[in-house]
């Protein structure tokens, strides 16, 4: 035990003597939170649209002015020729072309169903999908208004959907992103820094002097990794405080439950770092391998793309992604106020994962070759 304390003291001394370390610990979390949570939004505004108005009547003009008033669209032009509209789409000068057909007004007054045609540039699939959705709701709202004006509400007997968004009432994407970004933060700090730290001792040769002492494997590993648990937990608390102060991210559940889960999660992250350090000889190699896994883990974590949207095989792969579990726990506890009961399987899986990785890494770590 005393030996471990000596190692921990040495590690902290070295970490805080390293000039790059304090900025990494304090500045990087702020930058990540501020930039990523603002930039990584799924909300789409200012979709460029061109309207081809073949009808050119009072009703069609009213629909166009509705579009103009919507914050989601930027009405570029109203044309009267379909070909010109599609040409604009081809050249990438607009995102969507909405065509209002001839006899639009006439058919509406005669209660004949009318069809509008929407052509969207679907290279950006999300933009195209969301854009069509917005158009649909604008058009159907417009239709309903017309029906009400003509006093025929009952004839439609329409089912109206009214929305209420739970847990994130204002559909604020920052609320959705911030917990996930905090997870990325401690994942990167934990796996990169711990792995690089050990490989650095290999690189400068100090590991040899340690290997010739009677120090036990577990003493070395605990002593090496403990400082990063402290830094990781500190980082997370610091990030949560920032999220609270800057973004007013709600925090319904227990802070200590998050910390408890983070402690278990750190085992996984440090296990990854340690394992990478046992199979690499230079910091460059370690960095490259960590980065490779990190990209996969991040993209498949459900942070930027919902896991439910992935193909089934990809969804199965995410079951092996530790980041996924922590992001779920963060969102559940912070935004929904989930307690231990709701996340006990997360604890179990991530705990098991951590123990397995650390055992593997410890087994791989050799004092004598």
């Amino acid at each position: 035990m005393r030996i471990i304390l000596f190692i921990i003291r040495k590690e902290f001394r070295q970490i805080f003597r390293n000039k790059a370390m304090l900025p990494i610990i304090f500045i990087i979390p702020m930058i990540q939170l501020l930039i990523l949570s603002n930039a990584a939004t799924f909300e789409i505004q200012n979709i460029n649209i061109v309207v081809v108005d073949d009808d050119n009547t009072v009703t069609s003009h009213r629909l166009i002015s509705k579009l103009e008033g919507s914050p989601y669209f930027n009405l570029q032009e109203v044309l009267n020729n379909r070909q010109n509209g599609l040409k604009k789409l081809d050249k990438g000068q607009t995102n969507m072309v909405l065509e209002i057909p001839l006899y639009f007004e006439k058919n509406i007054t005669n209660h004949i169903p009318v069809k509008l045609q929407l052509s969207a540039d679907a290279i950006d699939g999300v933009k195209a999908g969301l854009g069509s959705g917005y158009i649909q709701s604008i058009v159907s709202e417009f239709g309903n208004a017309l029906i009400q004006v003509s006093g025929q509400t009952t004839a439609i007997g329409g089912v109206r959907i009214s929305y209420s968004y739970w847990y994130n009432e204002n559909l604020d994407y920052k609320t959705f992103m911030v917990p996930g970004i905090l997870v990325l933060l401690i994942t990167m700090i934990g796996s990169f820094l711990s792995g690089m730290n050990i490989v650095r001792e290999k690189e400068i040769g100090t590991i040899e002097q340690l290997n010739v002492t009677p120090i036990k494997k577990h003493q070395f590993i605990i002593g090496k990794l403990f400082p990063f648990i402290v830094i990781g937990i500190f980082e997370l608390s610091f990030g949560l405080a920032l999220a609270r102060i800057i973004f007013h991210t709600p925090f319904i559940g227990s802070f200590w439950l998050i910390i408890a889960f983070a402690l278990v999660y750190m085992l996984v992250v440090l296990g990854i770092g340690l394992l990478i350090s046992t199979i690499t000889d230079t910091q460059q190699q370690a960095m490259f391998i960590s980065w490779f896994f990190m990209v996969i883990f991040i993209l498949m974590s459900g942070l930027f793309t919902p896991i439910e949207n992935m193909p089934l095989w990809a969804q199965k792969i995410t079951l092996f992604n530790p980041i996924r579990y922590f992001i779920e726990v963060m969102r559940m506890v912070m935004l929904k106020g989930a307690g231990f009961q709701e996340i006990k399987y997360h604890f179990l899986i991530v705990g098991g994962y951590g123990v397995a990785l650390l055992s593997l890494a410890t087994w791989r770590y050799r004092k004598t070759t």
């Binding site: 005393r2 002097q209 010739v212 004092k367």
Partner: protein, 246 residues
């Protein structure tokens, strides 16, 4: 009343098909300064690393401080000190922090660490720099510190792998004085070097050529055997023999 603290029989290390060390035999007695000589790449460092428990031999037998290099490496490590060819202490810690850290690693009490650190600092004249980061010290001082650290837990044997590489003659001289001082206190010193003048300082030396020991004895014995004026000639003689055979 000689007593062997290192006994090596038929020790071999293969890396793939290459014999880095081939069937070597020798013994080192307690309190001896044993010079382990050879050209670059002759296998000196490999032997030393096997004896320190850093690499496992392919075959043969070796006992260090009464423990077997197969399986009792951790026992060996408690009883030896090691100073690597490459400077391997922490440049971002101070002199005193490095000593304290290694004292702690070897399980010494705080009182022991304090007392021994004080003595080692006195002995090697490190007093004025004890609170400086190693990064700011010249190589000679770092070597002295590395030697101090190798002695902190009062080992039976200290292995020094080219301890004076790259330092000036005066510092080398001082370094050898510290080596004698340690030998007088009963510590066995196992030193590799390729400075032939240093070889003369050793009680006994062995010469390694291409993974095998080609000469073993006191410097005087070796010089007589090879009709040589100094160790330089002995070395050239042994190394050249190999060229003739080829």
């Amino acid at each position: 009343m000689s007593e062997a603290v290192i006994q090596v029989e038929n020790l071999t290390k293969k890396f793939g098909d290459f014999y880095a060390v081939k069937n070597i035999d020798f013994e080192v007695e307690r309190g001896e300064v044993f010079g382990f000589l050879g050209a670059n790449g002759a296998g000196k460092t490999t032997v030393m690393k096997m004896l320190c428990g850093l690499i496992t031999p392919t075959s043969g037998k070796a006992m260090v401080a009464g423990f077997n290099v197969f399986g009792q490496q951790n026992e060996i490590k408690k009883n030896i000190g090691y100073m690597s060819q490459r400077f391997s202490l922490y440049e971002d810690l101070t002199v005193i922090e490095n000593i304290t850290f290694y004292g702690g690693i070897y399980g010494l009490t705080n009182a022991e660490i304090k007392e021994r650190a004080y003595r080692l600092i006195e002995m090697h004249g490190l007093g004025e720099v004890k609170n400086q980061l190693l990064a700011s010290l010249p190589l000679g001082w770092k070597q002295k510190l590395a030697f101090s650290v190798a002695l902190i837990h009062r080992p039976q044997i200290v292995f020094l792998d080219e301890p004076t590489g790259g330092v000036d003659p005066i510092t080398r001289r001082q370094f050898w004085e510290s080596i004698y001082e340690a030998a007088h206190s009963g510590i066995t010193l196992f030193v590799t070097t390729h400075y032939m003048d240093e070889a003369e300082y050793c009680d006994r030396i062995s010469m390694m050529v291409d993974g095998e020991i080609k000469g073993l004895g006191t410097p005087t014995e070796l010089k007589q055997l090879h009709h040589a004026k100094n160790m330089d000639e002995v070395f050239v003689n042994l190394a050249r023999k190999k060229e003739f055979i080829e």
